[in-house]
């Protein structure tokens, strides 16, 4: 039976393959290309599409299958998944920050041989050959890696474009504040002076949301690291091991940045508003400067109308200098998969996608700087009719710009990011605590070497045999059940028919449930990184579990916030659902409409709704705090600075919006209660309250128990809301359990670790369910069960 399913699956796959391949004519080959189009949107998508079509026309015999994964975040999740399953695209985008990691994992093919061939061709007079010397050297170096660091080693891709960063400024506000426009050599003193002057433009008493603010300063980790470099400071040493965030120069720079935002009013956008932050705040016209951003914001900023149409004039200035000038190079390459079957054709395509024509098309879009110096310094890039006028500013910054190196371990950014957000944006911790937290967490992480220094490889063959043995045991059990105690032929036939009918389910269960569950149990005992084949995993025993339980403070924080949330959301949510059900069970005209209204939110729930709630909880302009201010309550910064206390309650309040599902179950339960009982109780002298307590509650107790268990499980699995609204921050204050699990699994690719978390959650859920069942046994009344 099971073999049958496997054979069927394999056949289906072959058929599918044949069908899709059928489109190819004999002799044609197909290349898969994957990219994203985050900030560039449709235009970037179109440029890639056009370039590929032209490539196909120029190269008959090569077909290109294009995958646009959307945003860069989704892109890497998809790319890694494809790589793991051995279906990596032939040619794909790689951001500079992933180069060392991918090189170390050996998922990209070095292209030095091709580059050498191009060099020779060029020397022989072929002007169409690639001229790597024309590329900005920093961008080329970003894709050379020895697997640990970048800058040297084999070349893993041709940079397609890049950007430097700086501030976008509102010329109109600068004029109003009588501040000179920044030049390309301005300093942080110039910067803050301008921000302060602009911050004083609003007369006192201006409404918070209309107030003019000096500057938005984002605190993403690469931005903060660039900022530190302008003061000669670093977050991490060049060896990518020693943390330097606590050095005096770093601390001084961080303290200054923190003070600008939190010790002054009006200079920097305050940290307690989620709505008014990031690049979009600039569009409002109420912010003097916004940054440090690269060119990716330009397509959005170009939608700002000119002053005559109610907009404003704006331009760009590179990152101000501190004790020295510095900037960062953010770049993306076209790279080739290690396992591509068509390296020659892939190289042809990479060359095509980074050639002059493609670069010029990209330059006109304005999204990034061409990596070819000759294109960047040509009118195609510099002379655009559209703002910013100061395209030269981006190029001038290159001189002092370098690539920011990241440790291969993605956990570095996962730890640094939230800490910077807490210290520099929401401001709920000071710089010293920020530095300490980071150092402590990073140490905990780096000191954790699961499986020791010489871990043993996982003996997959043994496990495979074990799995087969289990399967055999299962088959034997069924055979035993079928053949046991000779009974009547009818009974046996019935039994066989029974097994036959459940067999699709059993097969599905084994294949799609039991197998992944068991695999995750095994993985929780390994250090599998989620990229690369399973055979690369090492056996680490219970190291993941001991690290989680004994040392991982984020794990503890996530347990706490999840428990806090469940403690609020489950009892109050269920009470509300029951109350709603009682009200909705009244026989009133149009009750169906009201019921639908209660249930509707459960249908709508999702990302969009989470964003709406983010607005409701916004500290400054959110509906909730505005409502509270009507009753003279100064609402907290729910999801920001005060998230430690108010974060989980905010999410609980949000969950009350979704009680419709539980309500429906209660409603069904209520309608099962015989009306006689209420009438009998009424005649027995019971008022509405007593009838509810003595009739409704006991009769509904099995339903309550069911809903309670479901709600507890649901509460422990909160994810989407937190992922969308806070991303777990500030710090770990809203990092719910499953969100942390997701971070570990799909952002730092600690699959083994994440599997261990999943199993701990499973045990927790089982234990809680068991406790609830046990403690409720005496209070729950089952009509159908004998005592």
């Amino acid at each position: 039976m099971i073999a049958l399913v496997l054979v069927a699956a394999a056949t289906a796959r072959v058929v599918y393959r044949t069908a899709t391949a059928g489109a190819l004519q004999s002799g044609e080959i197909e290349l898969t290309v994957m990219h994203w189009s985050g900030e560039g949107g449709q235009e970037e998508d179109l440029i890639v599409q056009n370039a590929l079509r032209e490539f196909e026309q120029a190269n008959p015999g090569i077909r290109v299958r294009r995958i646009n994964a959307g945003s860069s975040g989704e892109y890497y999740t998809k790319l890694q998944t494809m790589m793991v399953s051995g279906e990596a695209p032939d040619v794909f985008y790689v951001g500079y920050e992933r180069v060392a990691n991918f090189a170390g994992l050996e998922v990209m093919r070095p292209i030095d041989d091709f580059v050498e061939r191009e060099r020779q061709a060029r020397a022989a007079g072929d002007t169409s050959a690639l001229d790597l010397n024309d590329f900005y050297p920093q961008t080329v170096a970003a894709f050379q890696s020895d697997g640990v660091r970048v800058g040297s080693g084999p070349l893993y891709g041709i940079p397609k474009d890049f950007t430097t960063v700086g501030f976008y400024y509102n010329k109109d506000l600068f004029r109003r504040a009588k501040v000179p426009f920044p030049n390309d050599d301005w300093t942080w003193d110039d910067y803050i002076a301008a921000a302060r002057a602009i911050g004083k433009l609003s007369p006192p008493g201006t409404r918070e949301e209309d107030r003019i603010i000096g500057s938005e300063f984002v605190t993403w980790s690469f931005v903060v690291r660039s900022y530190l470099r302008t003061e000669g400071a670093e977050a991490i040493d060049g060896d990518l091991k020693s943390v330097r965030l606590g050095e005096p120069a770093s601390v001084r720079a961080l303290e200054r940045l923190r003070a600008w935002r939190h010790d002054e009013s009006g200079a920097l956008v305050p940290g307690n508003s989620k709505m008014a932050s990031g690049s979009s705040i600039f569009n409002s016209g109420n912010v003097g400067l916004a940054g440090p951003f690269g060119r990716w914001v330009i397509p959005a900023y170009r939608k700002i109308p000119p002053p005559a149409e109610g907009g404003f004039e704006w331009d760009f200035a590179p990152l101000p200098r501190g004790s020295r000038a510095s900037n960062c190079v953010l770049t993306v390459s076209w790279s080739m998969a290690q396992g591509t079957k068509h390296p020659e054709e892939s190289w042809k395509l990479i060359k095509w996608l980074t050639n002059r024509a493609s670069q010029e098309a990209n330059a006109r879009l304005g999204l990034a700087i061409p990596t070819m110096r000759s294109v960047a310094e040509s009118p195609a890039f510099l002379e655009s009719a559209l703002p910013p006028a100061n395209n030269q500013g981006f190029l001038d910054a290159i001189e002092s710009a370098s690539v920011i190196e990241w440790p291969r371990d993605a956990a570095f950014d996962e730890i640094l990011g939230p800490v910077l957000e807490q210290g520099l944006r929401t401001g709920d911790i000071g710089v010293s605590e920020m530095v300490e937290t980071f150092e402590r967490k990073w140490a905990t992480h780096t000191n954790f070497v699961p499986g020791g220094l010489n871990p043993k490889s996982v003996q997959w063959s043994v496990l495979e045999w074990l799995g087969l043995a289990l399967l055999g045991l299962f088959a034997a059990l069924i055979a035993y059940l079928l053949l046991r105690a000779p009974r009547g032929a009818n009974a046996r036939g019935e039994e066989r028919a029974g097994f036959l009918f459940v067999s699709p389910w059993v097969a599905g269960f084994l294949l799609f449930m039991a197998f992944p569950i068991l695999l995750s149990l095994i993985l929780s005992l390994t250090n599998w990184k989620g990229s690369g084949p399973l055979s690369g995993a090492d056996w680490v025993g219970f190291d993941n579990y001991t690290q989680l339980i004994a040392r991982d403070e984020t794990f503890r924080a996530s347990l706490w916030v999840t428990g806090y949330y469940a403690f609020l959301a489950v009892p109050f949510g269920q009470a509300l659902a029951l109350l709603a059900a009682v009200v909705m069970s009244q026989k009133v005209r149009g009750i169906a409409v009201f019921r639908a209204m209660w249930y509707l939110p459960s249908v709508l729930a999702g990302v969009g709704i989470s964003i709406l709630w983010q607005w409701i909880f916004d500290a400054k302009v959110g509906l909730l705090n505005q409502a509270l201010s009507l009753v003279w309550i100064d609402g907290p910064d729910w999801l920001g600075k005060d998230a430690g206390i108010f974060g989980a309650p905010a999410f609980a309040v949000m969950s009350f919006w979704l009680v419709g599902g539980s309500m429906m179950v209660y409603l069904a339960g209520l309608q099962q209660i015989p009306r006689d009982l209420y009438e009998a109780a009424e005649i027995d002298g019971a008022g509405p309250v007593r009838r509810f307590l003595r009739v409704t509650l006991p009769m509904l107790s099995p339903v309550i128990l069911f809903n309670l268990i479901m709600a507890v499980i649901g509460a422990l699995q909160v994810f989407t809301q937190a992922y969308v609204m806070t991303g777990g921050g500030p710090g770990d204050k809203t990092r719910f359990y499953v969100l942390y699990l997701f971070n570990k699994a799909f952002q730092t690719y600690d699959m083994g670790y994440a599997s261990a978390m999943a199993w701990i959650l499973l045990v927790l859920v089982l234990a809680l369910t068991f406790v609830i069942l046990r403690t409720s046994a005496r209070t729950v009344y089952y009509e159908s069960l004998r005592k």
């Binding site: 006689d676 009982l677 109780a681 009424e682 005649i683 019971a686 005592k787």
Partner: protein, 381 residues
């Protein structure tokens, strides 16, 4: 104990688009203290609605309801001091027998006492009340033979036991009026008859005012001091069971009361004889006074005699079916007057065979004449 007085009581259900349904119309009923009053009628006749209006479970649309001389139209059910036994008993399934019986007593503890008890722990008030309740439960359970079942749950009881618990719950509170809504219909036939007798005895012992609803006319007759026959929302006859049997007020009552039901033949009176389908039977001199008119003739099966076919003053018929019940035999006959049932002494019918011809004769003195129509009134000769 108390009297119950209904004056022009009616129940109107609002239907769609202003079409109203009158479930009960102009019911006048005076129930004496200690009286066992049975409302009987086919389903949909309004008897249950009337009972539920007395209980306070349905609002009274029109008329006046008085219990013990006090108008209670707008008094909530719990303040009418009545007890209600439901058709399916409505025992609280999550409570034991003892708790079920005590439920009404517990809820009637004064709120102040409950509060004091809650605040002072096991206060005297609570303790005393609990003792009183326990004693009362014990007393009731003894009366009804529930002692052995006190700690069981309803699901562990047989139908008859549940029925007794439901009665126990009703009598525990010692209400002014007991209301029973078809309390025996979920029991099997034998148990129904046993319980019927117990109820009758219980009524005598408690000397309680009881309003009892049933669709079973036999049950109604055996229990009732006063029988109220209802049909289509109206009272058809309100009298003793015997009176309803002997002198049915109209054709509906005549047909409804009595088993097997009365034979009723549509025809007309002509010169002191009843003619139907061309067959005429002389009734007697006093009927001649009634003149010639359309009417229906009724005679009970036990007043039928079988005579030789074509005997004078008889209707020729053939025996369609013979049902021998031991002490008596029911014989169904096909005749020009339609299907006629005769209830005869068993000894007299031993020789009868199905298919044989026979003559139907009846005693004119015990025959009834009704106006035509479903509820045609009785014509007194």
């Amino acid at each position: 104990m108390a009297t119950v007085q209904l004056t022009k009581v009616g129940k109107v259900y609002a239907g769609e688009r202003g079409v109203h349904f009158r479930a009960v119309e102009a019911v006048d009923l005076a129930i004496q203290d200690g009286e066992f009053c049975v409302l009987v009628g086919p389903s949909g006749c309004g008897k249950s609605t009337t009972l539920r209006m007395i209980a306070g479970l349905e609002e009274i649309s029109e008329g006046v309801l008085e219990i013990d001389g006090r108008m209670v139209n707008d008094v909530p059910a719990k303040d009418r001091d009545i007890a209600f036994v439901f058709q399916n008993y409505a025992l609280y399934p999550h409570l034991t027998v003892a708790e079920n019986v005590a439920f009404g007593l517990e809820t009637r503890r004064t709120h102040r006492n409950a509060l004091v008890a809650a605040l002072t722990g096991a206060g005297t008030a609570r303790g005393e009340e609990s003792a009183v309740i326990r004693a009362r439960v014990a007393e009731v359970s003894k009366t009804l033979g529930l002692d052995a079942l006190l700690h069981r749950y309803p699901r562990e009881l047989s139908g008859g036991q549940r029925q007794r618990v439901a009665v126990g719950r009703a009598i525990a509170r010692d209400p002014k009026v007991f209301l029973f809504d078809e309390p025996l219909s979920n029991l099997d036939a034998r148990l129904r008859i046993e319980t019927r007798t117990e109820l009758r005895m219980l009524h005598r012992r408690l000397a309680a005012t009881i309003v009892y609803v049933t669709h079973d006319q036999e049950e109604a007759m055996t229990l009732a001091d006063r029988l109220v026959v209802m049909h289509k929302g109206r009272i058809q006859q309100n009298a003793s069971a015997q009176e309803c049997y002997e002198n049915p007020a109209n054709r509906f009552v005549a047909g409804f009361i009595g088993t097997p039901p009365m034979n009723i033949v549509d025809g007309h009176l002509k010169a002191g004889a009843f003619v139907a389908n061309g067959v005429s039977v002389a009734l007697g001199a006093e009927h001649a006074r009634l003149g010639d008119r359309a009417s229906a003739l009724g005679f009970r099966p036990d007043r039928v005699r079988l005579v030789a076919p074509n005997a004078p003053s008889s209707v020729s018929a053939s025996i369609a079916a013979i049902e021998r019940l031991g002490d008596r035999t029911d014989v169904a006959l096909d005749s020009p007057w339609g299907r006629v049932v005769a209830r005869l002494d068993a000894d007299a019918t031993r020789a009868l065979r199905e298919g044989e011809a026979a003559g139907i004769a009846f005693d004119a003195a015990h025959a009834h004449l009704f106006e035509p129509g479903e509820c045609g009134g009785r014509i007194v000769a």
